[in-house]
């Protein structure tokens, strides 16, 4: 094998005068008889060889000082700006209104930069050598984020100060302030940007502009690759070189969970000290009444259930409260529309079906006996359909996760030492991959799933997960009693409560789960799969909804009668069974 590479090189060795060359692992020529290494290296003929990140960038003349081999000087927040822009563009392509990017996200970003003193401020948080222009910047041109224009000079250093600063320019990163960005002092203030914060910022902007993209939808889009996140730094312009410590900031190997991003968004809300959010109207699809309709459809539950969910929404008072984000300055609370809607559906089902492993099956048996036409909603049939579809969908998801490729085409390396071995490993990985791609004639890379709001597809078409049960009637579960629709089930169970420390306990689900009825646990798992959250998280939300429903004062005082065609209010008697006294308020 060596002969191919040393072919043509017939110089005698300087030490032993033999002509017997080999190529070592590093690509250097060495004499096989005396092991003398010479300076000649093997020319890489391998067509698959990727040169790595040190490419020659464009050389241009201008007032801005640029080093030809290193691009231009840039700051970390510039990088994040580009990434945010790309993410926003992706969302616009998916159908979000442009108002979200131009009016909301930009303003939030600028506010963030100001609050964290990275820009638009008189005393910037990073090195004082960089003179930054103040607030009299042009707000119109600032809206043009997509152009590498004078906008950048707001954030980057002026040309005059380059002489002194370039000597201090850190050699361990492509950006100017990566090392100070990561310093302990700045990290303590907790104001600095991270990749996860980009998602939190986008989530805040989405809520503000009342877009119907929930957090679970956003994270699903990120997971499926429609919104850039992992390896988002690859789309930065070429002049911005990423090296060294930049890797610690921009390289991510996981998509954060729902809970994490939500907490981060709340922290950001506090940091930015935003005023009250614009209210969420009842017609908006983010409102629980309408959002639950979407989840009901996805879970193949009958449309008649929606009425009961709306009743529950009004009873718990969530119809009004979610109309605005709480602006308590000490502890802002962001609503979790998606998780709340799912919890509402679960509690409604608990009211109607009991879900204690006995009642629902008895009701289902009765329905099966009574039903001649097949029009009634039968829980057993629904469960069988959903279970099969759920298992299939989970397997599909596991396979997709197994195939997912995380590493970028232009990887980032922490330090130079490991860079060479990583490049070599990457080459090997690519070779093995192409060999097996050829062998199996199946290219690597997840199939691009078309983005969809729904996880399942119910109906009669090809590729549907099963027949649709949306039109079934709930007559087997509810009856008319004194002209009022009442559920046949009249009991309600509640897990045991006890006092616990507010701050230290996160969730008691893992302890309680063995005691819960299996149907309920399965239902939690179904909705956790739909939203891609952990069952414990959803369980806590269910408890919160129940607490609201029990504590609400509305059901005693107000008796609202609607004039609509639908039957009047329900009078579901609930009898809570708390085993141990204290509730945690």
């Amino acid at each position: 094998m060596d002969d191919e590479h040393t072919a043509g090189f017939r110089e005698p060795c300087a030490q032993c005068a033999a002509v017997d060359w080999g190529v070592s692992d590093e690509g250097r020529f060495y004499c096989r008889s005396c092991h003398n290494v010479i300076e000649r290296t093997r020319e890489v003929v391998d067509p698959n060889f990727t040169p790595g990140s040190t490419r020659i960038s464009t050389i241009s003349r201008g007032s801005r000082t640029k080093r030809p081999e290193r691009g231009r000087q840039w700051m970390i927040c510039e990088g994040f700006q580009f990434i945010l822009r790309n993410q926003a563009d992706a969302l616009l392509r998916l159908g979000v209104s442009p108002n979200f990017k131009d009016d909301v996200l930009c303003q939030l970003w600028r506010l963030y930069l100001q609050k964290s003193r990275q820009a638009f401020t008189h005393n910037p948080v990073t090195s004082s050598k960089f003179k930054v222009r103040g607030l009299d910047s042009d707000s119109d041109s600032a809206a043009e984020l997509s152009v590498v224009s004078a906008n950048e000079t707001n954030l980057s250093c002026t040309a005059e100060s380059n002489a002194e600063s370039s000597s201090e320019w850190s050699l361990c990163s492509g950006s100017v302030d990566a090392s100070s960005y990561l310093s302990a002092r700045l990290r303590r203030t907790r104001g600095l940007m991270s990749m996860m914060k980009t998602l939190a910022l986008i989530h805040l902007a989405l809520i503000w502009s009342a877009e119907t993209l929930t957090l679970s939808d956003l994270l699903r889009l990120v997971n499926e690759g429609h919104v850039p996140y992992v390896n988002a730094y690859e789309e930065l312009p070429d002049e911005m070189k990423l090296e060294g410590k930049d890797a610690l900031i921009f390289r991510v190997e996981a998509v954060p969970s729902h809970q994490t991003v939500h907490k981060e968004a709340e922290t950001l809300l506090l940091f930015l000290q935003l005023p009250a959010f614009p209210p969420v109207s009842r017609q908006s699809l983010l409102h629980p009444s309408l959002l639950s309709l979407r989840y009901l459809m996805d879970a193949n539950l009958p449309d008649e259930l929606h009425l009961w969910v709306c009743r529950l929404v009004e009873r718990t008072g969530m119809a009004d409260e979610t109309l605005h984000v709480s602006d308590r300055l000490l502890r802002p609370v962001l609503p979790r529309y998606d998780v709340q809607a799912a919890a509402l559906i679960i509690v409604t089902m608990k009211l109607l079906f009991g879900l204690d492993d006995h009642t629902e099956w008895d009701l289902s048996n009765q329905t099966g006996d009574q039903d001649d036409t097949g029009d009634l909603f039968n829980l057993r049939r629904w469960y069988r359909l959903l279970q099969a579809a759920l298992i299939r969908a989970q397997q599909r998801r596991d396979r997709r996760i197994a195939r997912k490729q995380w590493k970028a085409k232009k990887p980032l390396y922490d330090n130079k030492r490991e860079k060479y071995s990583m490049i070599k490993n990457k080459r090997i990985a690519e070779q093995v991959q192409s060999c097996f791609e050829r062998l199996s004639s199946c290219p690597v890379g997840v199939d691009r799933i078309n983005p969809s709001s729904f996880r399942f597809c119910w109906g009669d078409e090809d590729g549907a997960d099963g027949p649709s049960l949306h039109q079934k009637k709930l007559d087997g579960v509810v009856t008319l009693k004194l002209d009022v629709l009442t559920p046949l089930n009249s009991t309600y169970w509640h897990p045991a409560l006890k006092a616990c420390k507010l701050r230290s306990c996160s969730s008691h689900y893992s302890e309680v789960e063995p005691t819960l009825p299996r149907t309920f646990v399965w239902l939690l798992q179904l909705f956790s799969f739909l939203l891609d959250v952990k069952p414990a998280y959803l369980y806590e939300e269910v408890l919160k909804v129940e607490r609201r429903a029990i504590n609400s004062k509305t059901h005693r005082r107000k008796r609202r009668r609607t004039r609509a065609k639908t039957p009047a209010e329900t009078k579901a008697k609930t009898r809570t069974r708390t085993q141990r006294g204290q509730e945690n308020r």
């Binding site: 094998m1 060596d2 080999g22 692992d25 096989r32 092991h35 992992v230 190997e253 996981a254 998509v255 596991d398 396979r399 996760i401 197994a402 195939r403 997912k404 490729q405 995380w406 590493k407 990887p411 922490d414 990583m422 070599k424 490993n425 990457k426 090997i428 990985a429 690519e430 070779q431 093995v432 991959q433 060999c435 097996f436 791609e437 050829r438 062998l439 199996s440 004639s441 199946c442 290219p443 690597v444």
Partner: protein, 416 residues
């Protein structure tokens, strides 16, 4: 009072322990636990989850022989090599090497180029596995008939040096040298074959052949000094030496192999020595000497027949008795039960022994230890019926011997 308590306490312990023994106690299992390779750790990033899931799918596909699916997942797995933790990368290199070759063995579309590609890549991926992968690669080429390529691979591997690493793997280096010499021998055989076919003697070819012989013999001589089981290498070396008529060296090599105490006991060594001596018309005495050791090692060896005939041919009476012992020991093993030649030889020995006066004592002495179980082994009614169906001649011979071997017992094995 304290003493009383102390005295009482041991009784309690006894009762408790007996309770434990009587009930189905929970005993700690002493079986070794398998270290799971696909284990979910606490802090797992999406990347780790993906690679772990991928490995699980590959493992599942391999166990169920779904080769196409395994190949598809194997295409997604190499991103593990770009992991930032070095220990995980090292482990995954070996995994990728072994799993890839396994998939290539079974996938219908695999070609030799794929093998070469994978072997070359994984060879240079790290220093720990370089020699092993070289060996495996050359084995694969050997098995597919590409002898020259195999030899080339091994020569490259032989000249590999990497400081401490190559010193630590010296056993692998020895293996590589040995197999390279074996390949030299194979090429030498080919050349000899073609050489003998052609009528005119091409000196160039001749030289070539001799050079291979020289290369092979130098290494083999070195290798064979190390204790071990080197059967195929010995045979090839001896064959080459015989061709060049270096009998002294051949004999020396074989003797060393057979009689060196540092080598593990190997009956084949004695077999080779015996065959060589027989080829070269050695004296009976020498042959008997070699076979004596073999008899101790493997009493059921097929050469024991020849041993017994050699002993029978000698003049000494003690040798005849020894022959009887040899044959009886052979028949102790069930594999020779139905062999006509062995029984015939036994009959011949008995006949020769009957020329002496005290033959009955000799026979009974030899049969003393066997009287309890030989009838069950050879002379039951089942054997009688089976032998009369399958091999009537054997039955005759055996029947004639029953009275002689076991005179006291009435056996159900009768002629007719």
């Amino acid at each position: 009072m304290d003493d009383l308590e102390k005295e009482l306490r041991p009784l309690d312990d006894l009762e408790d322990s007996s309770d434990d023994n009587s009930s189905i106690g929970i005993k700690k299992s002493k079986l070794p636990l398998v270290n799971p390779i696909c284990e979910e750790t606490l802090k797992e990033t999406g990347f780790h989850r993906s690679t772990r899931g991928c490995l699980e799918q590959i493992r599942d596909a391999l166990l169920h022989h779904r080769w196409q699916e395994a190949a598809e997942y194997m295409a997604c797995y190499p991103q593990m090599l770009e992991n930032t933790t070095h220990s995980a990368v090292q482990q995954s290199k070996e995994l990728i090497w072994r799993i890839s070759t396994e998939i290539l063995h079974h996938h219908p579309n695999s070609r030799l180029e794929d093998y070469n590609n994978i072997y070359e890549r994984m060879k240079h991926s790290g220093v720990k596995h370089y020699l092993m992968i070289c060996l495996e690669h050359s084995f694969h080429l050997m098995l597919n008939g590409h002898i020259e390529d195999a030899k080339h691979q091994l020569s490259v591997a032989e000249s590999w040096r990497h400081g401490k690493e190559s010193a630590a793997q010296y056993q692998n280096t020895k293996l590589i040298q040995a197999y390279r010499s074996l390949l030299d021998y194979i090429i030498w055989c080919d050349k000899k074959f073609t050489h003998s076919k052609t009528d005119h003697h091409d000196t160039g070819d001749n030289q070539d052949m001799h050079s291979y012989f020289r290369q092979a013999s130098v290494n083999l001589k070195e290798i064979l000094k190390n204790p071990g089981v080197w059967d195929p290498f010995i045979l090839s070396y001896v064959e080459m030496l015989e061709f060049y008529e270096d009998h002294e060296e051949a004999l020396k090599v074989l003797n060393d192999y057979a009689y060196d105490d540092t080598f593990p006991p190997n009956p084949n060594a004695h077999v080779y020595l015996y065959q060589y001596l027989k080829r070269h018309n050695a004296t009976d005495k020498k042959l008997i000497k070699v076979l004596k050791v073999l008899h101790v090692l493997v009493p059921s060896h097929e050469l024991m027949l020849e041993y017994s005939s050699l002993l029978l041919q000698s003049e000494k009476k003690s040798d005849h008795q020894k022959a009887l012992g040899v044959i009886l020991e052979m028949l102790d093993f069930a594999c020779w039960r139905g062999n006509l030649d062995v029984w015939k030889r036994l009959k011949a020995i008995i006949q020769k022994l009957q020329l002496q006066e005290d033959w009955k004592d000799v026979v009974s002495e030899k049969m003393a230890a066997r009287k309890d179980w030989w009838p069950a082994l050879h002379f039951t009614r089942f054997h009688a019926s089976k032998d009369s169906e399958e091999n009537p001649e054997l039955k005759e011979v055996k029947a004639s011997l029953t009275k002689i071997l076991c005179p006291d017992l009435t056996l159900k094995y009768s002629a007719g």
